[in-house]
């Protein structure tokens, strides 16, 4: 039965990193800088217990793989209040990955429209920022411009879980806390 494993895990202690609030050599940051666009105050206060809705706008599944790692015991993003939600109606943050194809543009806009306010959009990965190497492909828009207002851009191909975590925290007014810890 699986309970034994559960008890053993409890006895072994936490595997979770303290990053980005403390340095961890095992957590890779590739300098995937996070750019904050919108003045945070203007978009309304948004703080803790944030529900994230993800949409794939044409990705290679690398960003998805790293997003899944955020819920692993090694990063455990629920310790800082994040979780994934199945419905846009319950979402606070929309995370968009991939090159943004023409076919997904309206769907992304619809999902954003369905989210209650206040809300934020995170463009995740080089493809969502600029189309990356697929910019010239037919049917590829290459950015979220004109579709949804982007709050935070997280660069990287794919961005590492450490970089994603840092970027998500910036999207939820956590910049002062990160600054206090010397993380940004």
């Amino acid at each position: 039965m699986f309970y034994w494993r559960w008890l053993r895990n409890l006895a072994e202690g936490s595997k979770t990193t303290g990053y980005p609030f403390s340095e961890d050599p095992a957590v890779v940051s590739r300098g995937g800088s996070a750019v904050v666009h919108e003045p945070l105050a203007a978009a309304g206060p948004i703080r803790r217990a944030m529900a994230i809705r993800h949409i794939d706008g044409g990705s290679c599944n690398g960003c998805e793989s790293e997003l899944q790692m955020l819920s692993s015991p090694d990063y455990d993003f629920s310790r800082v209040g994040f979780s994934y939600t199945p419905s846009p109606r319950h979402a606070d943050i929309l995370v968009v990955t991939g090159v943004i194809t023409q076919n997904m543009a309206d769907i992304i806009a619809d999902v954003f429209e369905g989210m209650p306010r206040p809300k934020r959009v995170v463009a995740l990965g080089q493809c969502a920022l600029s189309g990356h190497v697929f910019r010239a492909a037919p049917g590829v828009l290459g950015s979220l411009e004109g579709i949804v207002p982007v709050t935070v851009e997280i660069a990287g191909c794919p961005p590492t879980p450490g970089d994603i975590l840092k970027g998500l925290l910036l999207a939820v007014d956590a910049a002062p806390a990160l600054r206090k810890e010397g993380a940004v």
């Binding site: 290679c60 690398g62 998805e64 194809t101 999902v111 190497v133 697929f134 492909a137 049917g139």
Partner: protein, 457 residues
């Protein structure tokens, strides 16, 4: 070996391919060369040379899927949608629908719960039972093969390694193998050892992630988290050994980091922990009850599509490219190819868990002999233009590339790809609509866990 048929001889072309298929020849891909000839490519067991069957498409070509060949459905669609389309005969693939009193259509996607790729499932249900499933893809094509045309080999490599992140290295290797064959080269043994290590690391990360998703779909978060922790351990080792968590650029790099000396022990521990999680899952009735018998692929579908990779090996089709045509150094490191006969979710789970163990064993044996100094490869000298085929066993199965190089051998004139996901997705609808109820659907889907990025290339 090359055979070519003139326009109007489509039926003879198709009869020949069907005969070869009956004989046991494996069909790799279907592609159109820069001059317009449509080529079917196959390879016999143990053969070192590919069989090329060409046809002049003027006036239409017999549609392989209508003749009973399901391996090439995706490439047929691609060829029918290019700027000068190939005209297939019959022009339409008959679409089936489910209609009747009490049938309710349940659209799901392209936006799903949790983190997943964009794909739409139209589930037709009668009460709880799923009677029909239609998949709609095409939300996210990046047209990678078309983008590669006219690019240098190095620039094209950057594109193909981004086709599917979880099998990035397999794409790099299959592409490089096709280019090397077109240039009349074969990579030296040291290079093949290095590539084999990288590919098995990729398989480990991919399979552990798939197992985590399957555990999650049955409501077992402890097993899910344990598998995810192991996946993260492998991704961190990937970064230390190859300087990228998803092995991007690893093929060009060609040399392991010096951290490799410390890796073997940690990787063996990962293998042991994975076995221990599996053991406990096999003693968890709530897990087994959901998997055994769920999502069984019907025999007719198996014969039509002949799925590859873990999906094929869990359905009595024992193909593993590593064993069929050794392209690395796999013959030197004997490894088991798991075979499970039942074609259900449980068999797919068992095949993946056994492959985790065999990948760890392969890496353990190859790490000490993998190059620590960069081999001089690719060689600067190569013979003129040509076409080449590269076939590898990616984490999800047989992955084939065909390239045509320009006369100087430096640029891609044309590129065609057959990914395992584009082929295996076609077995998912019949497997789901096979005496399963709606509540089984997430588990069946997680037991296949194919890549949408590999389908919408």
């Amino acid at each position: 070996m090359e055979m070519i048929w003139a326009a109007g001889q489509g039926q003879q072309w198709m009869d020949h391919i069907l005969e070869q298929r009956r004989r046991g020849c494996r069909l790799l891909l279907l592609a159109q060369d820069p001059a317009g000839t449509v080529w079917g490519v196959g390879r016999d067991l143990g053969a070192t040379e590919d069989a090329w069957w060409g046809i002049d498409p003027e006036g239409g070509v017999v549609r392989p899927s209508s003749a009973g060949i399901g391996e090439w459905i995706h490439q047929q669609e691609e060829l029918a949608h290019q700027s000068v389309p190939v005209r297939w005969d019959p022009p339409e693939h008959p679409l089936r629908t489910a209609r009747g009193k009490g049938i309710f259509r349940y659209p799901l996607g392209p936006v799903h719960a949790d983190v997943s790729e964009s794909l739409r499932y139209d589930l037709s249900v009668m009460g709880d039972e799923i009677v029909y499933l239609a998949l709609r893809h095409g939300y996210k094509p990046r047209h990678i093969a078309a983008l590669c045309a006219g690019k240098s080999v190095d620039d094209a490599l950057v594109l193909v390694e981004r086709m599917t992140a979880t099998s990035s290295f397999s794409h790099q290797w299959a592409f490089a193998m096709a280019v090397e064959q077109a240039r009349g080269q074969r990579a030296p043994e040291a290079v093949r050892v290095y590539r084999s290590v990288a590919q098995e690391m990729e398989r480990l990360a991919s399979h552990l992630g798939d197992l985590a998703t399957l555990a999650s779909s049955t409501g077992l978060p402890v097993a899910q988290m344990d598998y995810l922790h192991l996946k993260e351990t492998i991704l961190r080792w990937n970064f230390r050994l190859f300087h990228d968590r998803y092995l991007r650029g690893a093929l060009i790099r060609g040399v392991l980091d010096s951290a490799a000396d410390a890796a073997a022990g940690a990787l063996i521990a990962v293998g042991e922990q994975a076995r221990s999680i599996t053991r406990e899952l096999l003693h968890t009735p709530s897990f087994l009850d959901r998997l055994v018998g769920a999502g069984k692929i019907p025999a007719g579908t198996l014969d039509f599509v002949r799925p590859v990779g873990p999906v094929g090996r869990s359905a009595g089709l024992g193909d593993d490219v590593r064993a069929l045509w050794d392209y690395g150094v796999y013959d030197a490191v004997s490894f088991a190819v798991p075979q499970w006969p039942n074609a259900d979710a449980y068999s797919r789970f068992m095949v993946r868990t056994e492959e985790v163990s065999s990948s760890v064993n392969i890496i353990r044996r190859l790490l000490p002999v993998a190059p620590r100094t960069p081999p001089i490869w690719p060689a600067a000298e190569f013979s003129g233009p040509g076409r080449g085929i590269g076939v590898v066993e990616a984490p999800r199965g047989l992955l084939a590339y065909a390239v045509w190089l320009t006369s100087d051998g430096r640029q891609i004139e044309k590129l065609a790809v057959a990914t395992p996901s584009a082929r295996n997705w076609h077995v998912v609808p019949p497997a789901v609509a096979n005496n399963n109820i709606l509540q089984d659907f997430p588990i069946i889907d997680a037991s296949f866990l194919l890549s949408v990025a590999g389908w919408d290339q």
